[in-house]
Amino acid sequence: MNEPLLTLTNVEKHFPQSNGFLKPAAAPVRAVNGISFSIAEGETTALVGESGCGKSTAAKLITSAITPSAGKITLRTRDGNILDVGSLRGRARKALWRDVQLIFQDPFSSLNPRMTVKQIIAEPLRNFDIAHGQEATDLVADLMDRVGLQPGTMSRYPHAFSGGQRQRIGIARALAVKPRLVVGDEPVSALDVSVAAQILNLFQSLKKDLGLTYLLITHDLSVVRHSADRVAVMYLGNIVEENTTAALFKSPRHPYTQALLSAVPSQDNQDKPRIVLTGEVASARNIPTGCPFHPRCAYATDVCRLTAPTFEQLPTGGRVACHTPLEFMP
């Protein structure tokens, strides 16, 4: 593959904390604390981590809903130019949303209850001047058909649809602009297991038909296994390990990845004990010194408490940030 579609370089997002009038400013929330990774065109990359590790913040940064405090996010445009996503304003920012779209976690709050499905899906068609009138209606029908909704229901309001159907409406809206990169922020975590599986299958078939590139954000590694090509594991605003899905599942090298994997039911780990992380879940308001994972790591040493580990390239093609990575298991 040539140039990646999207590249993040040392991206940070700190939210300043104000304690209110005339009180000393508190330390900022370091939601995203210097992450780097890239997404190749046509691949599905998964970003995995527990609640509060900064996944949604990363999604908002990539979709230019918020701007980074530091670092660089670049997107390769259709004509091969490199776009600095973090500095976009106004029209240029609006133009980005023809290439990059987000699918929300909550299928309820992400659809305007006072608009019909047709109005919701036609909104990008209208605003980006893609189609109007009857042409737009026909496109809406096509999109609904594509995501498995009955076009005959387009004059209904969201309240008449189930969670899974609503998520399909959100997907149709995102696809309306023919984006190249689709970011899904926990797109199935609000759904029942069987409905979630259907939606994941829909993602797969859409990817094949439309040549989409996905960034799939989730806290659940079991979602990742069959849908992602690569996985990046995030902990407290940092990426701690990154590899192909096969290599990462087979032989996790970071203790945190190992713990996450042990919670996923599968044939390979039936006999292995589940690793239960102890210690308090640290918050982005107060990130530990050294390796951010050290208070909960079973392998932590004095070095870990003092110095942050840097990335080590793995022979399998991935990288890991740990002073003493776990054994490679072929």
Partner: protein
Amino acid sequence: MSNALSHESAALKAYAEASGWRLGWAKFRRHKLAVVSLYIVGLLYLLAIFAEFFSPYDYSDINRRHVLAPPQAVYVVDASGQFTWPHVRALKGQRDPVTRRLNYIEDPENTFPVRLFAPSKPYKMWGFIPLETRFIGVSTPNRQASIFLLGTDSLGRDVLSRIFHGARISLSIGLVGVALSFVIGIILGGMSGYFGGWVDTIVQRTIDLLQSLPTIPLWMGLAAAVPPGQDPLVTYFMITVILSIIGWTGIARVVRGRFLALREEDFVLAARFSGASEMRIILRHMVPSFASHIIASLTLSIPEMILAETALSFLGLGLQPPAVSWGVLLKDAQSLQVISQAPWLLVPGLAVVITVLAFNFLGDGLRDASDPYGKV
């Protein structure tokens, strides 16, 4: 996935295609008290708009033969116990030999049938449409014939007719005041919520300040500054301005609150990703979601305005006679003596109570209905 579209019942389809307004209306209708209040409010405004027609008399007609006459009853049974056409009995004045007071007693021998759409002296509806028919009246052209369903005041003017005319000012001052508050409130509240930062701080602190002032003394102070003896229309407008000085604050708070809450909603971010301009996000995506909340809170602030006008006029700081409003009418019932001799002069107070309650129930119903997607 509903594969059986054609088999779905019409009711289900209607529900699926029901807009927020339709769902809200359905929710509102379950609120019986609010529905009844809606009818009452509608009736009150109807009476106020067509006051000349619904009044049996001109509100300023002086009737020296019937000063402080008590309310006349409508009878459906005559002196011999037979059912008859509804009628009223003539009032006979009798001076009390001890107190020298004029008392009125009803004469069962001298009755006048009540008529709907009764002919009357010519009068002008809204000051320019000549009419000679009133909704209710007594038909006999007789000097003794009278129909004072709520009695008369110390100049012999019909209290019912005066209440209907007073409703015009009292009910419209609520609407005009709320309209004015609404304009100020939506602009300042919208700016506060939209821009945030120092604009928000200034607007919010101003609201805090205005809301911390005791309202009645503030109104009194401002009303006292309105020069007396002006055209009643000018006074009327000044009073609405005074009421709106406080009135906008509540509405601004609601607008700002909804703005801040909605700005964080995923569907607003989704609209942005759908390429909607800032203006379109506000007008197309946010306003429809809070319009119903604003209507509800506007409805709830109308009775406050009505009460305030009544209080000011009652204290002599609002409208002055010959203008009639419910507050002006209640001023006639200020002394204990009047109340003991002519308690019917307090009936305008009852009109105020009914109106305020009806608006409050209506506003409560609208508030519940304003979020049709919430938990039922």
